[in-house]
């Protein structure tokens, strides 16, 4: 188990998230994919802290965690709004601002 | 000496705007009274400022200096000099008359007066600020509200085009107020971008510690820099002064703007451009100015004739006046390009004279338009039968615009031509004088078409002479024209030391400067 293994894993997870982002259309499914990617990023932070020393990586991971939580909360609120106005959560339907 | 008069002059319209904003929309009279109070304070203040200016002493007086951004050396430094005083009074007059002339604005009047006052505060600020960045800031404050003022309160498509090219008008919505507002704002902003670039070069090359105009003026920039930067300043400010070929915002903008806005814009704002070219461009970059004056003067000479001829072909009353502004601003730039005391005095005097004259014109045009509901002069005729006072004031404005002795227009034009002749650029004086003749042709033609002849046709039944407040605007401006024409020293005594002082900086390395002429 070396740092490069962890990074490879994180990259792979990130790419899985990207795949989800590219194929999904439901707002919540997109949120799930984003979570996947965020998680991969967090993994890199912690791995760096563990393999390179120092506590900063973990601090960052914690911050990122908190911010992700906030993002999810706001994102879900938006999804609910979207649902309320369109009776649907497919993002490409919310296109009123697009002329 | 250090009173807060200048701050008061600048702040009064802004504070009045605040009060207007706090007035309920329904209190029509209160809105106007607040605006008038703000205008009056500024007007009176500007009169005090010019009366108390010591011409024997010259230089900057009533200096007020407040640090604004100390780390960058930005100061809110206000002071009045020989040029600032008369231009302050001009702005005061036009604002006062403009508020009176727009007494009858109906739609969203509160917002209208707020923007008008904010704009004027910017104009006052430009004329007194002695710090380049603050100067620029006030300049933008003066320019930007125009977009909204024209876009909302303007008028569209009053004289439909004819001929094979009318599809172009449809394509671009030429004559529409949104088009006019957008074009005006975009062109002036491009000009601002050029000014901004020049501003930073001047700031950094001067050491990057201060924007003070005096310090920048004393800085010796190298020749290369000056030659590169001066055109930026000239064209940047020149766009607002209607310098050919960047004048095309002016006819559309002035034609679409509401009365008071046209008055302020053609009357005062265009002067900001010329003032900027002279005060910033020529004084701070003397070598660049000397290098470029042949071009500046030639373009100005083109402006004079070209504007006059283009005006002759218009059938929309507002376009005629707007093109005449282009022509007359050419005289200002021509005077500036002569680099002679007579020319510079003439240029600044022309700023004042043309300001008052065009203010009068636009007030009258607004008045006619409000009553006739058209601006097409070919539909008009015989208006003098029912609105003799309007006809009289219009004729007065015409006479001043063709440079009749006894009106303010003559003094400035004559001094500018004299300066052009004395500066050795004989060729400049010829289009100048010819321009005055062409002006005579088109203004008198317009007067005859609109006012003379049998009584107005039956399409017009609301024509009448001015109402209460409109009288005020017309009388103030008309009297100004005649008084300055007969007694130009009223403001010339202030302009002259300013010109000599500033010109001293431009010509100092070349030769010691003799007094006039």
């Amino acid at each position: 188990m070396t740092l490069s293994h962890v990074l490879m894993l994180a990259s792979a997870l990130f790419c899985v998230g990207v795949y989800g982002l590219l194929t999904r259309r439901q707002a919540i499914a997109i949120l799930l994919s984003v979570e996947l990617m965020a998680n991969a990023a967090n993994l890199v932070f912690i791995a760096m802290s563990r393999f390179r020393g120092g506590v900063t990586g973990q601090v960052f991971a914690l911050f990122s965690l908190a911010i992700t939580v906030a993002e999810v909360a706001v994102g879900l609120a938006l999804v609910i709004l979207l649902y309320r106005s369109h009776a649907d959560t497919r993002v490409d339907l919310a296109s009123e601002l697009k002329q | 000496m250090n009173s807060h008069l200048l701050s008061i002059i600048v702040a009064a319209p802004a504070i009045a705007a605040l009060f207007v904003m706090l007035t309920p929309q329904t209190a029509k009279l209160a809105i106007r009274v607040w605006s008038l109070i703000g205008a009056t304070i500024s007007f009176a203040g500007s009169l005090v400022a010019i009366r108390s200016y010591d011409t024997a002493l010259g230089g900057l007086q009533r200096v007020e200096d407040y640090p604004l951004v100390p780390s960058m050396g930005v100061h809110l430094k206000l002071a009045v000099d020989g040029w600032g005083g008369p231009l302050l009074v001009l702005t005061g007059v036009i604002l006062f008359a403009g508020v009176l002339a727009s007494w009858t604005v109906k739609t969203r009047d509160r917002e209208f007066f707020v923007l008008l006052l904010v704009l004027t505060a910017g104009v006052f600020g430009v004329f007194v600020s002695q710090d380049l960045l603050v100067f620029f800031l006030f300049y933008e404050i003066a320019v930007l509200p125009m977009y909204v003022l024209i876009g909302i309160w303007g008028s569209s498509h009053k004289v439909p085009p004819k001929g094979p090219f009318k599809f172009v008008w449809k394509l671009f919505d030429i004559g529409g107020k949104q088009y006019a507002a957008m074009k005006l704002t975009l062109m002036l902003l491009v000009g601002s971008a050029a000014i901004m670039a020049a501003l930073f070069v001047m700031y950094l090359k001067a050491g990057g510690t201060t924007f003070d105009l005096g310090v920048l003026g004393a800085t010796k920039y190298d020749r290369q820099t000056q030659i590169v930067v001066f055109p930026l300043v000239w064209l940047g400010f020149g766009t607002l002064a209607g310098v050919f070929p960047f004048h095309t915002w002016s006819p559309d903008g002035h034609a679409s703007a509401p009365t008071a806005v046209s008055m302020l814009h053609a009357g005062v704002l265009m002067k900001l451009g010329a003032f900027g070219v002279m005060r910033i461009g020529m004084v701070i970059l003397p070598e660049g100015a000397r290098f470029w004056v042949p071009v500046v003067g030639a373009v100005a000479a083109i402006n004079v004739l070209y504007g006059a001829f283009a005006a002759m072909s218009q059938t929309d009353l507002k376009y005629i006046i707007a093109y005449s502004s282009v022509s007359h601003m050419g005289i200002v730039m021509l005077g500036a390009a002569t680099l002679t005391p007579a020319g510079w005095n003439g240029a600044v005097f022309q700023m004042v004279a043309h300001g008052i004259m065009t203010g009068l014109f636009f007030a009258l045009v607004g008045l006619v338009y409000e009553r006739a509901h058209t601006r097409a002069i070919l539909k008009m005729g015989g208006f003098a039968n029912v609105m003799p006072a309007v006809a009289a004031f219009f004729t007065l404005g015409c006479l001043s615009s063709l440079g009749l002795p006894g009106t303010a227009g003559f003094v400035s034009e004559f001094m500018v031509f004299l300066g052009a002749w004395k500066s050795g650029h004989y060729l400049w004086a010829i289009p100048g004088v010819l321009g005055a003749f062409v002006t005579a042709i088109y203004v008198l033609r317009a007067t005859r078409t609109i006012f003379w002849g049998e009584g107005p046709s039956h399409d017009f039944h609301e024509l009448s002479d001015p109402k209460k407040t409109e009288w005020g605007a017309l009388v103030i401006l008309g009297a100004g024209l005649v008084i300055l024409g007969f007694w130009p020293r009223l403001i010339l005594d202030y302009i002259e030391p300013g010109s000599v002082e500033h010109l001293g900086k431009v010509l100092a390395p070349v030769a010691t400067l003799a007094r006039l002429p």
Binding site: - | F172, A310, M415, E496
Partner: protein, 607 residues
């Protein structure tokens, strides 16, 4: 301030005050009659001051001056204004104020039928005119003269266009202004050249010959315009659209003479330019003959007088060109009196008949004896009949021209004297003798005292002014001698012959047949060739140029700007599909970017 300066200031400023009062006090102007009182009071005071000044001149030949800085102050003064009192300005001041006062009094009756408001406006213009003319006359330098010059131009414009409802009056007013304004560019340029060369606007500086020629030629261009010399005479006949008293004052006696006055005033400059003088002599003589020929064929009494004015101004210009400042100025003076008299008498007749056409008159002498007498006296003076003022001044002109330029101008002016007598005789015989040609003429009656009074007053100088030539010359400080020699005798003989021929042709009244040579001139005149050249130029040069430039401005200069705007909008429209609003597309872009960066980071190091 010496007394002469004070008189001059009074003469200058009383009409100004009257004008200002009338302009500002709308109620006064609206009432009509009070406006006339104010204006005439101003003129009377001005007249009194002018006469005092003139009599003062008889025993004082010093020049009095009072100037204040106008443009600039102290050391930086460019231009000054003030009053300059010498023989020239004092004499001219008397002429101007006297004629103006007579005309204003005459106008009380003549303009009686106008609505009060127009009446008030009329007198306001008159007061303004008198001020402007006096400003011109007492000018201490050519710049102030120019200021007055332009101001009289404006009052002329306003007065010609007084009946602004009439399209023809509107056109005539604008035309007069355009033509004179065009000519005035010469004066403006002349001032620029003069100031650049000498640093003053005075008429005394000594210039190098080419500069002097240039300056005087430029000034002369203005003179040609103002004094209606060929080919810029076209505005004067049209200017007869104004009320007749206006024609008498502005377009006969005073304003058109301003051009001649300018040359008299600037005589020191013109003395330095012999070339200019020769041109003046030639052009003056040509104009005199040309205008006289045109006067022959007019049937409109005012137009006849207008062409006659052109012709007489040609005499004055010729005299000045011949170097006789006194001849030109004296003829100006006498001409002012008798031409004003003629116009006022014509106005009186027109007022009675309500027509300008002499063919509508006829036999007026019986019903309007005073008017007929006045007109006849004026006509005789104009014809140069011995004993009347015109005789003396015209002889002075002819005498000065004699021997110049191979005697051609002399011969031309002699011929013109004959023609003048002929066409004046024609007007007198057709309009005032014979039988009435219509109802109106048959029932015409003498005008009231306000109109006949000025006629009587003006008849006095018309008759006697010639005998004061010596006095006049003394005031100007010029030598004067008059001898009844061959020249004057020929001229008088030609004048009498002209009158006799006119009686032979037109003695039977309005229905006389038109002689063949005159009919031929008439056909030529009807082509309005000179006017048509200007009209063609205006339509096909000026307006086309204006339309062309406006087109270029709208579609080329502005077109480029619009093209830029169009390009920005179209570009934006083309680029907009990139912004699909779909998250996957943006993700794709980000991914591709990251891949690119990674490739660069990884493989970039191979370089």
């Amino acid at each position: 301030m010496t007394p002469p300066v004070l008189y001059a200031l009074v003469a200058l400023w009383t009409p100004a005050i009257a004008a200002l009062l009338l302009a500002i006090l709308y109620p006064l102007r609206k009432k009509g009659q009070p406006a006339a009182v104010v204006a005439i009071l101003g003129s009377l005071v001005s007249l009194g001051a002018a006469i005092t000044l003139f009599t003062d001149r008889l025993h004082d030949d010093a020049t009095h001056r009072l100037v204040v800085p106008w443009i600039g102050s102290g050391a930086s003064t460019i231009a000054e204004v003030g009053v300059h009192v010498d023989g020239v300005s004092a004499s001219m001041l008397v002429v101007v104020t006297l004629v103006a006062t007579c005309v204003q009094v005459f106008s009380i009756g003549y303009m009686h039928d106008e609505p009060p408001e127009a009446y008030g406006r009329y007198f306001t213009y008159h007061a303004l005119f008198l001020f402007s003319m006096n400003l011109l006359v007492v000018a201490p330098n050519i710049l102030q003269l120019f200021a007055g010059w332009e101001l009289v131009g404006v009052t002329s414009y306003l007065l010609i266009g007084f009946y602004f409802k009439k399209p023809s009056a509107a056109r005539a007013a604008v035309k007069a202004f355009w033509v004179t304004k065009f000519a005035d560019m010469g004066l403006l340029f002349g001032l620029l050249v003069l100031f650049a060369a000498s640093g003053t606007f005075g008429w005394e500086p000594t210039l190098s010959p080419p500069v002097a020629t240039a300056v005087t030629l430029l000034f002369f261009l203005a003179v040609v315009g103002k004094s209606a010399q060929f080919p810029l005479h076209v505005w004067l006949p049209d200017a007869m659209e104004g009320p007749t008293p206006v024609s008498a004052l502005l377009h006969a006696a005073t304003m058109v003479a301003a051009g001649v006055f300018l040359v008299v005033r600037a005589n020191p400059l013109f003395e330095q330019a012999p070339i200019t003088r020769s041109i003046m002599l030639g052009l003056g003589a040509a104009t005199a003959l040309f205008a006289a020929l045109l006067a022959l064929v007019q049937t409109d009494i005012k137009k006849t007088l207008a062409y006659s004015t052109c012709s007489q101004l040609g005499y004055m210009v010729a005299a000045l060109g011949a170097g006789s400042m006194l001849g030109g100025f004296f003829h100006l003076t006498t001409h002012a009196f008798f031409k004003a008299l003629l116009f006022l008498a014509a106005g009186s007749a027109i007022h009675a008949v309500h027509s300008n056409e002499i063919t509508d008159m006829g036999g007026l002498a019986k019903r309007m004896p005073l008017t007929a007498t006045a007109f006849s006296v004026g006509a005789l003076a104009l014809a140069g009949v011995p004993g009347l003022s015109g005789f003396f001044s015209k002889d002075l002109v002819l005498e000065s021209v004699e021997g110049k330029l191979g005697n051609v101008p002399y011969a031309v002016l002699m011929l013109t004297a004959f023609l003048t007598a002929f066409y004046m005789g024609k007007v007198v015989f057709v309009a005032f003798f014979g039988k009435p040609s219509g109802e109106k003429a048959a029932h015409a009656h003498e005008s009231g005292p306000s109109m006949s009074g000025p006629l009587v007053v003006l008849m006095v100088p018309t008759v006697v002014a010639g005998y004061f030539g010596a006095t006049f010359a003394k005031v100007q400080g010029e030598p004067y001698h008059f001898a009844f020699g061959a020249g004057p005798a020929t001229a008088s003989a030609l004048g009498l012959a002209g009158i006799g021929l006119a009686y032979a042709v037109y003695g039977r009244g309005p229905r006389a047949a038109v002689p063949a040579p005159i009919a031929m001139i008439d056909r030529v005149a009807k082509t309005r060739a000179v006017n048509r050249v200007y009209e063609w130029g205006f339509r096909n040069v000026t307006l086309v140029l204006a339309d062309g430039l406006a087109f270029i401005d709208r579609y080329v200069v502005d077109g480029l700007i619009n093209l830029l705007g169009w390009g920005a909008i179209e570009g934006g429209r083309k680029l907009r599909p990139i912004q699909t609003g779909l998250a996957p597309d943006y993700v794709l872009a980000v991914v591709l970017g990251v891949v690119g960066l990674a490739v660069w980071a990884v493989f970039g190091s191979w370089r």
